[in-house]
């Protein structure tokens, strides 16, 4: 039983890590209606920039600040140069454009900072905590707490600030947002900027977990089922989806894996996501469009 609990909790905590990445997707989807595949490259870019500066002896917070500036600048540039010209184009085209964009970001990041693997130490001790018979990772707890703080901060941002309210408004009606007095373009840039910040947080935590290296870009593959389950437009959905994906992946790997031969977690969350979609075609928390003829 303790084995089950341990696997379950381990999975939940891993799921929070997926949620961290998924939140970045949600933000951009809300603002620009695109599933931004380049989010993975942005996570890599953030981690790489930060760690490169740390390697050169720059202070932790200063490095964080500089990285944040760069990430926000990249995010805003992407919005202006790539997504704005593609406005009103099919969603799949936008998606593929962000995939093309990820080649650009990865290429340039590695030209500038090399392809080596870096260790990233955030100073979080990672000896396991034992509660009864169950072991929990300290690092994962810190990561989960960070994700929690991030979600609360973003919720405050979206529910109580002018920008946030305007953002929710544009989802329904772009004109309404204008009436609040914020220019749509400023709004987009703010959201993309926040997404840049989120990718920094994700980059640091994932980087500390597995080393800063190219494989960071692959975290998007786990973010996708999280988003399908949670819905593309809900931050709460991203968290709930992450927990579902994390826990079910871990349990499936153990219990289904022993039946089917392992590695079921490569697809389990996707199949689960399709299952969710068949019941709710726009995700658990997603907005359902009403079709009129």
């Amino acid at each position: 039983m303790s084995f089950f609990v341990e696997t379950f909790i381990g999975g939940l905590l891993a799921g929070v890590m997926y949620s961290l990445v998924a939140i970045g997707f949600v933000l951009i989807y809300k603002a620009s209606g695109v599933f931004n595949f380049a989010q993975g490259s942005m996570v890599l870019c953030a981690g790489l920039t930060f760690v490169t500066m740390r390697d050169r002896g720059i202070d932790f917070w200063l490095a964080g600040l500089i990285t944040l500036t760069i990430m926000v600048a990249i995010a805003i540039a992407v919005e202006r140069v790539v997504l704005r010209p593609l406005v009103n184009r099919p969603q799949i085209t936008l998606f593929m454009a962000t995939l093309g964009l990820s080649f650009v970001i990865e290429g340039i990041a590695q030209i500038a900072m090399g392809a080596s693997v870096h260790e990233l130490d955030l100073g979080i001790v990672d000896t396991p905590i034992t509660v009864g018979e169950v072991q929990v990772s300290q690092f994962d707890l810190v990561a989960a707490a960070t994700a929690g703080v991030l979600v609360i901060a973003l919720s405050i941002f979206f529910n109580w600030t002018r920008v946030g309210i305007a953002l929710r408004a544009i989802a329904d009606d772009p004109l309404a947002a204008r009436s609040i007095g914020i220019r749509l373009q400023t709004l987009w840039q703010i959201v993309w900027g926040v997404a840049g910040f989120v990718s920094l947080v994700a980059g640091l935590l994932w980087g500390a977990r597995q080393g800063v290296q190219f494989a960071l870009t692959l975290v998007v593959l786990k973010a996708l089922p999280v988003l399908i389950i949670g819905g593309f437009t809900s931050i709460t959905g991203a968290i709930v989806g992450g927990l579902i994906v994390g826990a079910s992946d871990s349990l499936a790997e153990i219990y289904l894996g022993s039946l089917l031969g392992g590695s079921v977690s490569t697809w389990f969350s996707y199949v689960l996501a399709v299952g969710f979609l068949l019941v709710r075609p726009t995700g658990l928390f997603g907005d359902a469009p009403i079709e009129r003829i």
Partner: protein
């Protein structure tokens, strides 16, 4: 037609012309260059595994430069090389192979180094048709050890089967003999890919032979999340873990092992889980981690002093990060270059001092004899194990050293080279090679010549 459109078409025409030109340049032969020996290098400097590759090419290129600069080439035949990017993908690897296989400026390709397990497998038959030997050190098809069926594939030095067997033998060394293996639990945590599964058969066989329990735990690609696998290990409580990762899987495995409290000094990394690039990102928890490798790390081998003096100190090195000098991957590049150069030398002794082609290099490889004496002359004693190849044995060595990470660097902790049970495994390998030959309708060569 609008000017803009015309411009567009013009620019496209220029692009096309450039392609034709660059292809044409590649095809023209110049008699003067035909005195060189050409080594095409399939490299991957882009993509998920670039960090593992970059030091390899540095070691390889540095050794080639050393041969050219200090020894004036192989018996006077200078080496030339150029790179082709594969991204570690089969498709691009094949493009590279096809691009270079005709040789360069009249100098033939003696050996192709695919640098990638899937690429080497895809080239198995093409290389036979083109008569270009593939040298795959510590990767590639294990059954290609049987050169009667696979005349042009050379998984030299340390196949995956030998890797597994040596790891088991190291455990035996630690527990006080092979008879003590009985009853032990050895869990193999592997990258769930053809590469990762290569050791399932030999480990099952060894488990049966020595009486240990063989536990196989797959980690799906890319392996950036392993909490389930290590929770399972915590439950099964194996005595040793044999970690066969690739890329990001290794540091995550080490970190996750620490998370569940599995002692890291009871994890033995495989060849591709045993480099600085694998263990460094794991940080402090990597201290004590073990790895078995045919490329022992260290910059104090004699050849390294020479490389340092003639190449690094003169600014000729391909190395970006001087820290990597003497690293596992750098040394693997040096090793690979030594094998290639010595095979050419062997072929030259037979066919004459001139650029060697693939067919001749194949003979050279099959008659390669890197004895202790020859290794000492090269300065590779301790770095490279003695190697003797034949048509029946394209591996030759089959031993590895076990390294332990002290938080800064690797130290050798095994008792010299840990030999694998080749005599036990070879019959199985020959069997599989024969099955392959049957399926493909290949008549094995007569190995007596």
């Amino acid at each position: 037609m609008s000017i803009r459109k015309q411009k567009r078409i013009t620019s496209r025409a220029i692009g096309l012309a450039a392609l034709v030109l660059s292809l044409a340049v590649g095809a023209t032969a110049s008699a003067e260059d035909a005195k060189t020996q050409y080594f095409p290098l399939a490299t991957f400097r882009v993509g998920a595994y670039a960090s593992s590759g970059i030091p390899v090419w540095a070691g390889e290129i540095d050794y080639f430069r050393y041969i050219n600069e200090v020894e004036g080439g192989i018996n006077g035949i200078k080496l030339v090389w150029d790179e082709c990017e594969t991204n570690w993908e089969v498709e691009k690897g094949i493009e590279c192979y096809e691009r270079v296989k005709a040789g360069k400026n009249g100098s033939p390709v003696p050996i192709f180094l695919p640098h990638g397990d899937p690429i080497s497998k895809a080239l198995t038959e093409k290389s036979v048709a083109d008569k270009i030997p593939l040298v795959t050190i510590a990767y590639g098809r294990t059954e290609a050890i049987d050169g009667r069926v696979f005349p042009y594939s050379f998984p030299v030095v340390f196949s995956f089967w030998s890797e597994a067997s040596s790891a088991v033998n190291f455990i035996a060394e630690k527990v006080g003999g092979k008879d003590k293996l009985k009853g032990l639990k050895i869990a193999t945590v592997y990258h769930d890919s053809p590469y990762g599964k290569e050791t399932q058969v030999p480990l099952a066989h060894l488990a049966k032979t020595y009486g240990f329990e063989d536990i196989q735990i797959p980690v799906p690609h890319p392996g950036n999340e392993q909490s389930a696998q290590w929770a399972k290990i915590r439950q099964l409580k194996p005595d040793w873990v044999f970690l066969r990762g690739w890329g990001v899987m290794t540091p995550v495995a080490i970190k996750t092992a620490a998370k569940v409290g599995f002692p890291v000094d009871h994890i033995i990394g495989g060849i591709w889980s045993g480099s600085e690039e694998d263990v460094r990102p794991a940080g402090a928890v990597g201290k004590g981690y073990l790895a078995i490798t045919p490329f022992p790390a260290g910059a104090n081998f004699e050849i390294h002093q020479k490389l340092k003096k003639h190449i690094l100190d003169k600014g000729l090195s391909d190395l970006k990060d001087p820290k990597s000098f003497g690293s596992v991957y750098y040394n693997s590049g040096v090793d690979e270059a030594i094998v290639a150069v010595e095979a050419i030398r062997t072929a030259q002794a037979h066919f004459g001092v001139r650029p060697i082609n693939g067919e001749e290099a194949q003979w050279g490889l099959e008659h390669l004899d890197l004895s202790e004496k020859r290794l000492a002359e090269i300065g590779a004693t301790g770095l490279q194990q003695p190697l003797k190849l034949s048509a029946k044995d394209h591996e030759g060595g089959g031993a590895g050293k076990v390294l332990q990470w002290d938080g800064e660097k690797w130290n050798v902790v095994s008792n010299g080279w840990v030999k694998s049970d080749r005599e036990l495994l070879l019959p199985l390998i020959y069997e599989r090679a024969a099955a392959y030959a049957r399926e493909r309708g290949i008549t094995p060569r007569d190995a007596t010549n």
